[in-house]
C-alpha cells in the first residue's frame, strides 16, 4: 500500500510523463568484454527503487548518490548477461544524468566481463515489469560495426543475440519479404510485365495472333522479357536507392502508367513484336525508380545498406518469378483458344489500357 500511494504521488511530480515507460540499454560487445549504458527515466527509477528520500516528489543528485550502492546492486540483479550459457558478472561503474527529449534519465555506465569470447549473448531483463507491465527495455547491441535493436518486454524478458552475424540474416530476410510484397501489391508493375508476357506464347502472322508451335520460342520470349525487365529495374533501383540518381516521383509514376498503356496498346496494334524485350528494358529502367521510392519509405539500415538493397531486389525478382511461373504455363496451355487470343489478350489488353490511362491522368494531370 505504501508503495502504491507513493506511485500516486509521483503522478503530479516529475516529467517523463505523457509517454509509456521505456529504458534504453546500449551494449557493445568486443571479445570477452561487454560495455555500455542503461538509461532509466528518473520517474521509473523512483517507482522501482524509491530514491526520493524526503518524499518531495523530486529526485535530487544527492538523493541519487545516497542510493548508489542500493541501485547498483538492484540493477545488477535485474539485468543478466550470459555468453554461451556462462554468466558475465555485471558492474555499474558510473552514474550520470541524461536529458532526453521526453525528460531526465539516469545514465548508468555498465561493464561486464565474460569468461569466454561472446558468440551468443543472452540478455535477461526483469526491471520494473512487476510494477509497470507496459515498461519496455529498448536494447541496442553493437558489435563489429553492426548494430541491432530489439525490445525487451514482460512477454519477452529474454533475448538472444548473435553479435555481428544475426542482424545480417534478419535484415536480409526482412528485405526479401518486403521486395516480394511490394511487387505483388504493385499492380502497375505486374500489369506491365503481364502485358509484355501474354503475347510470348503467340506469333504474329498476317495481322493475326496465332499460337506459337513449340515451347522453345515461347520460353525464349519469356526469358528475354523477364531478364531485360529485371536487369533494367535492378540497375535503376540500385542507382536510386544509393542516391546516385534521382527523378521526381510524379514524373516516375506518370511514366510508369504510360509504360503500361504502351505495353498493352502494343498487344492491340503490335508495333514491337520480336523486340518486346527491348521495351521491357527501356521501361524497366523507369519501373526501377518506382521500386526505389518504396524502398526509400521503408528505409535502408545504415549499417547494411547494400545487403538490404540486394535482399529487396532479390525479393522483387522472386515475387516476379512466382507470377511468371503461375501465369505462363496457363498461357501456354490456353494459347490456341479464342478465349486466350481474343479474350485475355485483346479484351484484357484493352481493359489494361483504360485502367492505365486513368492512372496516367491521376498521376500526371491531377498530381
Amino acid at each position: 500500500m505504501r508503495v502504491a500511494l507513493l506511485l500516486l504521488a509521483l503522478f503530479t511530480a516529475t516529467a517523463n510523463a505523457h509517454r509509456p515507460s521505456d529504458a534504453f540499454l546500449t551494449l557493445s560487445v568486443e571479445g570477452t568484454q561487454i560495455s555500455g549504458q542503461w538509461e532509466i527515466a528518473l520517474r521509473d527509477l523512483e517507482v522501482a527503487q524509491g530514491v526520493d528520500a524526503n518524499r518531495d516528489s523530486t529526485l535530487t543528485w544527492g538523493e541519487l548518490q545516497a542510493a548508489r550502492t542500493r541501485l547498483d546492486q538492484a540493477l545488477a540483479a535485474a539485468l543478466t548477461l550470459q555468453a554461451d550459457g556462462a554468466a558475465c558478472p555485471l558492474r555499474v561503474t558510473d552514474l550520470l544524468i541524461n536529458d532526453r527529449l521526453d525528460g531526465r534519465y539516469a545514465w548508468f555506465e555498465l561493464q561486464a566481463q565474460c569468461p569466454r569470447t561472446v558468440g551468443t549473448l543472452d540478455i535477461g531483463y526483469q526491471f520494473l515489469f512487476d510494477l509497470d507491465p507496459s515498461h519496455r527495455g529498448i536494447v541496442v547491441l553493437r558489435s563489429g560495426g553492426v548494430s541491432e535493436t530489439r525490445v525487451l518486454s514482460p512477454s519477452e524478458p529474454q533475448l538472444r543475440f548473435k553479435p555481428g552475424t544475426s542482424s545480417g540474416w534478419h535484415t536480409f530476410r526482412d528485405y526479401v519479404v518486403e521486395g516480394v510484397h511490394h511487387i505483388w501489391i504493385g499492380i502497375d508493375h505486374v500489369l506491365f510485365l503481364l502485358a509484355l508476357l501474354l503475347p510470348a506464347v503467340l506469333l504474329r502472322e498476317g495481322g493475326q495472333w496465332r499460337p506459337v508451335p513449340a515451347l522453345r520460342p515461347a520460353l525464349w520470349s519469356v526469358f528475354g522479357v523477364v531478364t531485360a525487365f529485371t536487369l533494367a529495374h535492378s540497375i535503376t533501383l540500385t542507382l536510386a536507392a544509393l542516391e546516385l540518381l534521382r527523378l521526381p516521383s510524379r514524373w516516375v509514376e506518370s511514366a510508369i502508367a504510360a509504360s503500361v498503356v504502351l505495353a498493352a496498346l502494343n498487344n492491340l496494334w503490335p508495333l514491337v513484336n520480336r523486340a518486346r524485350w527491348a521495351m521491357a528494358f527501356v521501361f524497366g529502367l523507369i519501373h526501377g525508380f518506382g521500386f526505389a521510392s518504396v524502398l526509400g519509405e521503408l528505409g535502408l539500415p545504415q549499417a547494411s545498406r547494400l545487403l538490404a538493397l540486394v535482399a529487396f531486389n532479390t525479393g522483387v525478382e522472386l515475387g516476379q518469378l512466382a507470377i511468371v511461373l503461375v501465369v505462363m504455363p496457363l498461357a501456354y496451355w490456353l494459347r490456341a483458344s479464342r478465349f486466350y487470343r481474343h479474350g485475355v489478350l485483346m479484351i484484357g489488353s484493352a481493359a489494361v489500357v483504360v485502367i492505365a490511362l486513368v492512372w496516367f491522368y491521376e498521376r500526371a494531370v491531377l498530381g
Binding site: 502504491a4 505523457h18 509509456p20 515507460s21 520517474r43 510494477l131 529498448i138 498530381g367
Partner: protein, 318 residues
Amino acid sequence: MLAQRFIEQSRQEGDPRGLGYAQGVLSPWWTLEQPPLAVLLMRATIRQSRHDFNGALADLKILLEQAPDDAQAWLTQATVLRVLGRYPEAAQSCGQLQRLASPFVSELCRLAVAGLNGELAASYTAMRTLAGHTQPPGLQAWWQSELADMAERLNQPAEAEAHYQNGLDADPEDHYLRTAYADLLLSQKRAGEALALVKDHDRIDALRLRHALALKALDDNRFAPLDALIRDGFDSARRRGETLHLREEALYTLDAIGDAQRALRLAQRNWSVQHEPADALLLVRAAHSAKQAAAAKPALDWMLSSRLQDARIASVQP
C-alpha cells in the same frame, strides 16, 4: 480500487504510465480469461485506452453476461462500438442505459449514436433540449462536446464554437473537448486562437500536437523543438510496436510534416482500426492531398452505408 485511481489519473494527466501501473496492480488476474468482474471492467477500460477495441469488447461481453445491470459497462461498450462505427449495436447498448442510468445519460448516449447514423439534424435539435445545465461539470462538458460535433457536421461552425466554449467553461480539464475545439480553429485558419487555447497543456499528447500545428501554421520558430519532441514520440511508439497513435501521426504527417503519401498510408492503417467521423475526414483529406482520390473510397462508402452526415468531409470533395 487503486487500479481505478491509476486509470482516472492517467486520463486526467494524459499519462500512459498510469495504465501500466493499473495493469501492474491487476497483474495477478490480468492473464485470466475470466477475472473477477471488477477487474474485467478495468481491463476493458485499459484495453480501450490502448485502442485494443476487440479486446475491450470481449471483456465487456463476458462482464455483461454476468452483470447485466452494470451501467458503466454498457456505456463503455456503447463508446467502443461507436468508435468502431458499429452504430446499431452501439444504440442497443445505449438502450440498456434507460433502465440503469439517469435519463440524461441514456438520452445523451442514444442521441449521439443516432446523430451519427442518419438522424443528425433531429438528434441535434433533441440533444439541445436536454437538461444539461444542471448536470455535473464532467457531464455538461460531454454534452456540449457532442453538440459541438453535431454542429460542425451540420456546417454550423459558429454554433459549434459556442458549444465548445460552454463545455470548457463547465470543465476546463476536458482534453477531448479542448482538442476538438483546437481542430475547429485550425481548420478555420485561426491558428493564433488555437495556440492560445492549447499552449499551456503540453503534458497532454493530443494538445501538444495541436500546439505544434498552430506554431507551424503561424510559422513560429518555436515549432522546431516541439516538432522534434513529437517526432521522437512517434519513433519511440514505433520502436515499442505500438499503433495507438495512428490518427495523430497521420494528422501530424499531413499538416505539420506535409508528406501526403505517408499521411495517406497512416490514415489508411488508422481507418482499418477505427471508424469515427474524424478518421473518415482524415482519410479523405489525406487521399485528396496525395492525389489519390480512389483511396478515399472506403470512408465514403462507409459514410453512405451508415448514413453519416459530415459537412467537413463533403467540403473536401473536389
